[in-house]
Symmetry: C2
Subunit: 182 residues, 2 copies
Amino acid sequence: MPLRAKRTTAGEDMAEGPNNASGGENLLFLTDEQIRKGIEAMFFAYRGFTADPDRILTSQGYGRAHHRALHFINRTHGTTVNNLLAVLGVTKQSLNRVLRTLIEDGLVESRIGRTDRRERNLYLTAEGATLERALSEAQRERMRAAYRAAGPQAVAGFRQVLEAMMDDEIRTHYKTIKDRRT
Amino acid sequence: MPLRAKRTTAGEDMAEGPNNASGGENLLFLTDEQIRKGIEAMFFAYRGFTADPDRILTSQGYGRAHHRALHFINRTHGTTVNNLLAVLGVTKQSLNRVLRTLIEDGLVESRIGRTDRRERNLYLTAEGATLERALSEAQRERMRAAYRAAGPQAVAGFRQVLEAMMDDEIRTHYKTIKDRRT
DNA sequence: CATTTTATGTCAGCCTTGTTGACATTCCAA
DNA sequence: TTGGAATGTCAACAAGGCTGACATAAAATG
């Protein structure tokens, strides 16, 4: 067995992924060492991914949690608190702390729901939108550079693997972005 | 302008990534919406990425920081504290707290350096290696599933983009895994 | 209409994990 | 011998998770 990769898992005998063209040494991408490299790549890349916005945030007295809130409020204007909780995957107490400071500081506006008055609809103020844009632009710049360096094919693969790595319920949240007005 | 993607950045006019085969609509992968989707994909995927080991960790009274320490001690047996600090990117006080509990609990052994006796060389004990394997296996299982679902080409692209996203100094740490004894 | 459920907010307290600053120890190297 | 590097430790603090308990308003349901 020359090029055949050593595999440790049992598994249901290779369910043949979509891009698995020819057989044989293609299994190398499932080697334990390959997987391990992928794990470390995720760890290190995520650090880079958050580094730039983190700098802006600390300089303004905010944290990563504020960034996440701003991002998703911007993504879906008028989203409710419950909705945000589901997407962010934190407790309402935790989110509330973050949200309160953002509202106090005038970055986020909380309007009572029109159909259901129990709900609060969340919007970015002009100031909030400005900060969100700064954070997002810093992060986008790095991702854009990475995309450009890697090329379109790599980007497609990148997205495929990431999507496959998500939890199922989350994947639906992720996909709702397609319904977004540009 | 039919298929031409709307780009926001100035940038040095498309430095032609390696895989950028034909011109034109390939630039779609640099659209703001594409970049935004990539950002969210990173966020959601990272959550999935850490979910499984996190469950094990909490059940054992440890946190993600312990996992990271175990992982990198396992990756390079006998690494020094300073070395670990550089890779993990935290302060020595923060690492020390984590390391101390691992040593007290008998998962990690700290031996005084042979050439430089100021240094401590860190090793996993049998018990530590067992936990590391459990954590790592949970995480690998998910990544393996994602890899299998996406296929080898996608995996290659995944890794390319992640690597391009890292900070420069970190990328070297990442690449040292190639020198690893299997 | 009375009751229950839902959405949200808030208080209090706890944990992990990051931070700074100060200081002690050990020991290599100039 | 002395300066500086590597390491450890103590203390204090902050962000941001968590749980539990409780309050309020409004919708939903009987």
